[in-house]
Amino acid sequence: MLDLFQSLGKGALAFCHQIGSVALFILLALRWSLTPPFYGKQILKQIIDIGYYSLPVVGLTTLFSGMVLALQSYTGFARFSAEDTVATVVVLSVTRELGPVLAGLMVAGRIGASIAAEIGTMRVTDQIDALETLSTRPMQYLVGPRIIAGTICLPILVLIGDIIGVFGGYLVGIYKLQFNSSIYLSRTLEFLEISDVILGLIKAAVFGFIIALMGCFHGYNSGRGAEGVGKATTNAVVSASILILIANYTVTALFFG
């Protein structure tokens, strides 16, 4: 019985320690992301890595999601003669939910893992210590640029993803479901409000922050050796993905009061 309490207590303490470490890391990351000097070259490099190189993945994901959404909603809505709402359903779903969440999850897999692996490798090969000995704050040089780039790039990626996703729905609507092109377009724009797009972009900025933060946190606190880096990479992707889903609900709930 005592063993059970002991292991429960140990687990609870470890959990609290982890929460505290993440909270502290967030504070430090925010502080050093917003304090000069800003490493412009590093920020640019990260923008290219996170933004430019994620474009194909996000583009393909949202394209096929838009296409399948058009097909599925048509099949469903046809049962109660509401086929003409397909365009509206596609555009609202893509801009408010699918675009940000799918892009966030895809980028978490691609970038969260890469950030954790890179920083984790730097940790285990003493490169982070070397940075400190060269009078450079690792939080400012490594973490800051990634957080800034993640928070800037995700909304841009999602905006492009939204357009591609809606275009995917349009392609299916016109060429497979035989909708009239101008009617489909007018339906697409008719019920779309700017707040729908903005909500998606706010979510994307939060997701970008989460992805970069989790990649940096787990990489920075990576265990020794290849196994440590491997675990850090897995933990970065898993924690970023879960936090994205939680943040998605939280932001949506906040907007709907």
Partner: protein, 272 residues
Amino acid sequence: MNNKNKQISKIEISNITKKFGEELVLNEFSLSIKESESLCLIGTSGSGKSVALKCLIGLLAPDGGSIKVDGKETIGQSKAQHEALLDHFGMTFQFGALFDSLPIWENVTFRLRRKEKLNKIEAKEIARDIVSQLGLGPQVLDLFPAELSGGMQKRVAIARAIADKPDILLFDEPTSGLDPITSGVINDLILNSVNRLGATTLTISHDMASVRQIADTVAMLHRGKIIWCGSIKDINHTGIAEVEQFVNGNPYGPLTSDNANLAQTHQSEIYD
């Protein structure tokens, strides 16, 4: 090494303790290094040498004790004071710790470029000069660390450490993993660089050939404490069993752990 008559303590470490969990790694560790002196810290693996070095440069915070550099206490300094202090240090790490994502010229001039606000052309020119002093040609400047051999990486690490002429140099096992000839070359380069800068040097090494080549003074660390410190000339006549075992590389003696002895016994049994 040069300026041996100088008797001022550049670095004064007194009664440092450092624990990791329940394990006491440094136990009242004390060491004094005079200005322009080259001191080698020797000891078995896991004896706390790297931890001592990291405490000295502020990468680890000791649990107690005092570290003075140029007479000023460094423990408990503000971040800004610590960063100013780091400008006095150049350090190489056991495995180089070169930045994978930067070409050699940027690695070498990493701190200098920010400090002196150098542009790319100026920084590359300075990097060319420094690497040439270490026997590397200008063709390496645009390569990345992964494209260099182990010996070349060690040279680049030394180049990075000496680039902005620090007055204290720390070398963590500078010849580990190198063949004897390359080790000799690296030791020569360290000697030349240190002499040129007149820097105070603390080197961690297991390699007694290197120690004999570069040290003025040797200190042996065992179970978190300095058990002997003296001139390199006296290293063979210390009268301390642990030091003698280490210097002679004898597998049997007080330094050898019970586990190692046990493993040796098992191995003998297998061969018998």
